[in-house]
Symmetry: C2
Subunit: 243 residues, 2 copies
């Protein structure tokens, strides 16, 4: 039997958000590769080898997954959310660039519910008009690029979803992002802090920009910044379609 590689999104947490396509790929797999907490979400079964690995080894993990597929294994690389949004799909294609001998392999990307969509749904519909998604981590780009994009996005009046807003390694940068927003946006601008979405610990907090503080975000939080028209109705936060 010939091998293949699927790069699959497990969604943000809840099993009800895993697509049937991804479940089928996992059921047909011989090997599952990914970051430790994501591999832990795949149920063990006879005939399935689990290969959890640490954070920040994405390229090595991708190369190993391709190597296994080339050797005839049926390999699923798992990401949280969607594999194409700040996740493993790009890492696999980067690894593939260095290995032309693997470019004929059967490789599929299986989309998933990315965190911002689940966060937006839990809050209402804050991404209901033009929006952008920005990874605030400076692991792979200068932090000045992050700030520049935030400023231009505010100028364009996009709603914004921030991934990886804050970590222990860079506790102060999110404060700089809030300051950049304050320079452009009105104090009443609505900010959604969605922590641990689609898990039992889910917590949704909505604050005006004037009351938002950097401590409201951590690595499990997706932050959604409303557009100038985003507003609240009852317990929901949403962006009207006409914006």
């Amino acid at each position: 039997m010939s091998g293949w590689l699927a790069i699959a999104g497990l969604g943000p947490g809840d099993a009800g958000l895993v697509t049937p396509e991804v479940s089928s790929a996992l059921a047909a797999a011989t090997d599952v590769v990914g970051y430790i907490p994501y591999v832990a979400r795949v149920a063990p079964r006879p005939g399935l080898s689990l290969h959890p690995s640490d954070n920040r080894v994405e390229l090595e993990r991708a190369t190993e997954a391709l190597r296994m597929a080339a050797a005839g294994r049926r390999v699923v690389v798992v990401s949280s959310g969607d594999p194409g949004v700040f996740a493993m799909a790009s890492a696999v294609f980067e690894a593939l660039e260095g290995h032309p001998e693997w470019q004929g392999l059967e490789i599929r990307v299986l989309p998933g519910i990315t965190a911002m969509l689940a966060a937006a749904a839990a809050a209402g519909a804050p991404l209901g008009h033009d929006f952008c998604a920005i990874n605030l981590s400076d692991n792979l780009k200068p932090f000045e690029t992050v700030l520049r994009r935030v400023r231009l996005a505010a100028e364009a009046d996009f709603a914004m979803a921030f991934y990886n807003p804050r970590s222990r390694a860079r506790p102060g940068q999110f404060g700089q992002v809030l300051a950049a927003l304050r320079a452009v946006c009105e104090p009443a601008r609505l900010i959604v802090f969605a922590r641990a979405v689609a898990t039992p610990e889910q917590q949704i907090r909505v604050r005006p920009l004037s009351e938002a503080t950097e401590e409201m975000a951590d690595m499990r939080t997706v932050v959604i910044v409303g557009s100038s028209r985003t507003r609240q109705v009852g317990r929901f936060t949403y962006s009207p379609r006409s914006a």
Copy 2:
């Protein structure tokens, strides 16, 4: 039994991309409300009333769905893709603003695979770094706002996903968007035209900006514009993580 309203995303087309959460809501529903082609994707069964309606009556449809839920029905409003991305969730909250008596209703938004995620997955990972989503339709905002956002997004070096790029009512506007891109981006910038994603008619075409023409898009197309670093490896188009 008390009524509820779920605003659910059916994904872009394939049944393998409908989440179990959405399938469960449909199985528990008494009424399904939505645009004709989306309601047509829900299997009829005894006890389920289907309420298809025409395009451009989103507010009326939302109000009717809320009214049925208030009357004790279990109502699912269906959208293609994700209900919070250029779809019905915002329309429901707009309708709710005019009816404070319904704000205590049980209302849930159930996320779905939005078209750009399925399009990106089919092409590779062109949204693998910071990106934005812009609805090119001028039904609900001035077209000058669209062009301004495209220019600022290019300046920010976002990858971009365009929804509703072109229709018979406005055949020439997409040409203006391409012209706006050409004013900022290099001729080799990669553009993905993803038509009818996750359906049997799916077609993925990738062209450099210099060869992109407005005829390559229609209302069933999602257009993804790469960032300055988006490139091809074999048959895949992807944006590296470091951008």
